[in-house]
């Protein structure tokens, strides 16, 4: 059971792809200007991770070591292409906004890193789970960053959620600051870097606090 706990903890916190492994920064920084874009790309990345991890795990016994990397690349490229095609078919408006970055998921190092480091050594179920939680960890950071940038940059939260959830979702938009002029810096790329820096800093602060608590509680075992 603890294996699963580790998988979840690794994906969401301890080994989070965005704040610890620092992988996949290109889409992370480019698409996090609003919550809806962040969520869209996050879900797409998560799908690719689950599909590629599961496939890699399924074929791991048949792939000879010498050619495993090219095979992983093929698997990932296929998964991304299919998700891109499906997005064009079913979420066309969202595709128009984040389509370019969906193609870039192919180059998101998180995916090949998980294929190589985890899926090629573990069973299908664990690998899918790892893909899901790594993707979720990535998505959560992406959405937090998106919320931060949207809130400060536009003064709103959840604008244009209709792109993801259909026309009925307009009501989700929260205008936090009325007559807000916007704050350009957070919408532009530097804002993404600053935002991610703050998130990583916050995570480290929490980690240090937790560590301190543990060592305070057990002073005799702390070395």
């Amino acid at each position: 059971m603890s294996a699963y706990k580790d998988i979840i903890n690794n994906g969401l916190w301890k080994n989070n792809p965005a704040t610890v492994q620092l992988l996949g920064l290109c889409p992370l920084l480019a698409v996090s200007s609003t919550v809806v874009n962040a969520l869209g790309l996050g879900i797409a990345t998560m799908l690719v991770l689950v599909v590629s991890n599961a496939t890699v795990s399924l074929i791991r016994k048949y792939v000879r070591d010498e050619i495993r990397i090219p095979v992983f690349v093929v698997v990932i490229a296929v998964a991304v292409t299919i998700i891109k095609i499906l997005m064009q078919a079913f979420f066309y408006d969202l595709y128009l906004i984040i389509g370019l970055f969906v193609a870039l998921i192919t180059t998101n190092c998180v995916i090949i890193a998980r294929a190589e480091a985890f899926a090629s050594k573990n069973n299908v179920f664990q690998s899918s789970l790892d893909g899901f939680f790594m993707g979720l960890g990535f998505t959560v950071v992406l959405v937090i960053l998106g919320a931060f940038r949207e809130l400060i940059g536009f003064g709103t939260l959840f604008q244009q959620m209709n792109l993801l959830f259909g026309e009925g979702a307009h009501w989700l938009q929260i205008t936090v600051f009325e007559n807000y002029d916007g704050f350009l810096l957070t919408i532009l790329p530097p804002g993404a870097f600053i935002g991610l820096g703050l998130i990583i800093a916050l995570k480290n602060v929490i980690d240090n606090r937790l560590k301190q608590k543990v060592s305070d509680g057990l002073p005799q075992t702390a070395t």
């Binding site: 792939v63 095979v71 093929v74 095609i85």
Partner: protein
């Protein structure tokens, strides 16, 4: 066969099998969704056109009733599409594609809808590289600035007032994006002039 070339051969075959399988899956997905994607693209375009000319104003198919034109007033050295709206086979309005060459960071592509009487039905930006948060206020879903052109025409306001306020004209510029606003105002005026001269031939 030596063991190296045997290994190479086996690996190549394996890699080949995986590639073929992958390609087959992609091809299958594409085949199954192709029609839907084509429909999506067409619907999207039509929806954009209908923002300018509402569906009840015309009864022809805007997507197919088009004409390719080339004129320095619309764009430098590029073919532009004109979508023609008709009702009962009588011309109603034209949606003219154009490019403003002088945006803040390059070209701005627009659709300008002109009623038969020479008044503007509306303007929409379709492609641009203007600064996010400033110049992108020319997009209809970011701000309603672009609606300042509604009902305007060549003599309303008079030609010397067809400028942004900063230049002594009548149109409000977008704050901190005067160059962007200026480019859009200018090209819109040019399209109106183009329409006035070419109105007859446009609908043939």
């Amino acid at each position: 066969m030596t063991s190296i070339s045997k290994n190479m051969f086996i690996n190549a075959v394996f890699l080949g099998i995986f590639t073929i399988a992958g390609t087959a899956i992609v091809a299958f997905t594409f085949e199954k969704t192709e029609q839907r994607i084509v429909d999506n693209k067409r619907d999207y375009k039509l929806r954009k056109l209908h923002e300018l000319i509402p569906p009840d104003m015309h009864d022809n198919d805007l997507n197919t009733d088009t004409k390719i034109v080339r004129d320095a007033l619309l764009a430098r050295d590029a073919d532009m599409t004109v979508y023609r709206a008709r009702k009962n086979n009588k011309p109603v309005a034209a949606i003219i594609e154009c490019i403003a060459p002088d945006g803040y960071s390059g070209k701005i592509r627009l659709l300008v809808a002109v009623n038969l009487d020479g008044s503007l039905a509306g303007v929409r930006v379709t492609e641009h590289l203007e600064t996010p948060g400033l110049g992108d206020a020319i997009e209809a879903n970011k701000s309603d600035w672009i609606n300042i052109f509604e009902d305007k025409s060549l003599d309303k306001p008079e030609p010397r007032n067809w400028r942004v306020r900063r230049d002594g004209g009548e149109f409000d510029q977008i704050t901190s994006a005067t160059i962007t606003s200026r480019a859009v105002v200018k090209v819109t005026y040019n399209v109106l002039e183009y329409f006035k001269v070419n109105q007859k031939s446009l609908f043939n």
